[in-house]
């Protein structure tokens, strides 16, 4: 628990706005072209268009085709979005339908103490 709260306390105090100018390397893990997979991809595309224009890359990995890749990024839940860059690595679980949480998870919006 303590690392989490420490991070929360530190973030809002940071001088520059989170994510400013960084290149975003994103990986979206899915399993087949399910409705949920497609929703996740659409939601991700929308977020990137709105917040990361020109400085992102999305790689979609379908684990049904390449199951061996689940191990490397420790994937359990699907869909999972992994932010490889900027560091540190972040994992977002779910179809990204909750935009607010997705933005917080990507450090595109500061974490408010109320967000868990």
């Amino acid at each position: 628990m303590s690392p989490k709260s420490a991070r929360r306390a530190r973030k809002p105090g940071k001088a520059r706005a989170a994510g400013d100018g960084d290149f975003y390397d994103l990986r979206l893990y899915i399993a087949g072209q399910t409705a949920r997979s497609l929703a996740a991809l659409a939601n991700l595309q929308k977020i990137c268009d709105e917040h990361l224009e020109g400085r992102y890359r999305i790689e979609v990995i379908d684990l049904l085709e390449r199951p061996q890749l689940a191990r490397g990024d420790q994937i359990l839940a699907l869909p999972t979005l992994v932010r490889k860059l900027p560091e540190p690595i972040r994992k977002l679980v779910g179809d990204l339908s909750n935009t607010e949480r997705a933005l917080v998870g990507l450090d595109l919006r500061p974490r408010s103490p109320a967000t868990s």
Partner: protein, 510 residues
Amino acid sequence: MAKPATRPALVQAVPKSPTGIQGLDEITGGGLPRGRPTLICGGPGCGKTILAMEFLINGAREFNEPGVFVSFEETIDDLTQNFASLGLDPRPLAARKKLSLDYVRVEPNEIQETGNYDLDGLFIRLEHAIDAIGAKRIVLDTIEALFSGLSDTRVLRAELRRLFNWLRTKGVTAIVTGERGEGLMTRHGLEEYITDCVIMLDHRVVDQNATRRLRVVKYRGSTHGANESPFFIDESGISVLPITSLGLQHSVSPSRLSTGVPDLDEMVGGKGYFRGSSILVSGTAGSGKTSLAGYFAEAACRRRESALYFAFEESAAQITRNLRSIGLDLEPCLRKGLLQIHAARPTTSGLEGHLSAMHRLVEEKKPRVVVVDPISNLIAVGTSIEVKAMLARLIDFMKVRQVTALFTSLTIDEGHPEGTDIGISSFMDTWLVLRNMDRNGERIRTLDVLKSRGMPHSNQVREFLLTSKGLKLLEVVRDQGRVLIGSARAAHVAVDALLARRPEKRAPRR
């Protein structure tokens, strides 16, 4: 129940997957339910992970069933190191693709939940690992870690249910471990999903001695031992000691070996104990138990057989010194390495520790003769039923190996030497009772053979002396139908001698 005679048993017994773990297969009647998940739960450090790993390793080694170990808590390196130190190194099997290890890291701080999800990622990983080596067995240790990483317990529970059903359709025999929770078998109630077989482990401390217990809580479609059984963990893994299921299938030997005291050999059929039999020497404090044990061990060494002496009361030096005072020198036996004395306080390790140490040493040194002096001291480390189970195991173990074993036991109640407190006499083939009688101001030592299976034996209570020249059984002296002992005997012998006008022959002096 209603019509047992008219309806033959059509129900097939649940197919089972042997664990290869000593004792556990006996309790479960052949192993865990094949193709189904089994829940193993217990507190921290109770041996869940070891039991699970041994199930996989035995499966791969002995039953040609490859297995996957999925750890949610320890990294592969940690796991490998821990098990290598227990003699269960998974690496050689992993190299031959008989076993695979996977570490599923659940890092609570990294995960942000942003919408709907399921655990297909985990399913895909497991399926990939299973198919890669054609696994028939899988361990999930411990899957409850997922609850720390994912907050939507509603989704998680539905997914766990789906996972266990999926494992069933996949046909793999699974062990799922879970940590004991408050008022529940596991913290998150996994027992709700896994109902085929539940085994509970316990590691408790009684009177400052740690003991381990295993209990099969349920086993759907199968009978099973319901009692708690002690188990221990040593370099060769887990051994469970079922209290009730002892096989009496060891072969028996007609050959005999000396007690170390010629006169005593006479009392037990003229030739001594049976090889591979168990001998109990019980008596009160100072009645000469250790002396008899010493003679027995020394006789083995004279036959150039190796002897192992477990001492729970005295140190090796103390035993050799004390036996020297009755003219028995164990020094040469020790020097030649034929005799080895292992002295330990019973309380230095738990019950399972002692048993495992004794098993290991007997296995390793391959002695022909073993002395446990005294067995009654082990009561200090366990309650009676455990000591009994432990003894039964040890005796069985030695009989199978044709090791002749002598146990001494301290009798507390002078009046009832037969009432050996541990109730172990039924395991024993020969039982010698030593008494230290207090008569008319003198102490008199007597010895008698209470039982000796399969041989004619003396029914006399014999007086004996422990002199600087050794243990000496005295001839029976009768007067008017009574057996005389002590000074009454000495007086009688002296009178006899006088009557025979042979004053130079004196009665033995004590």
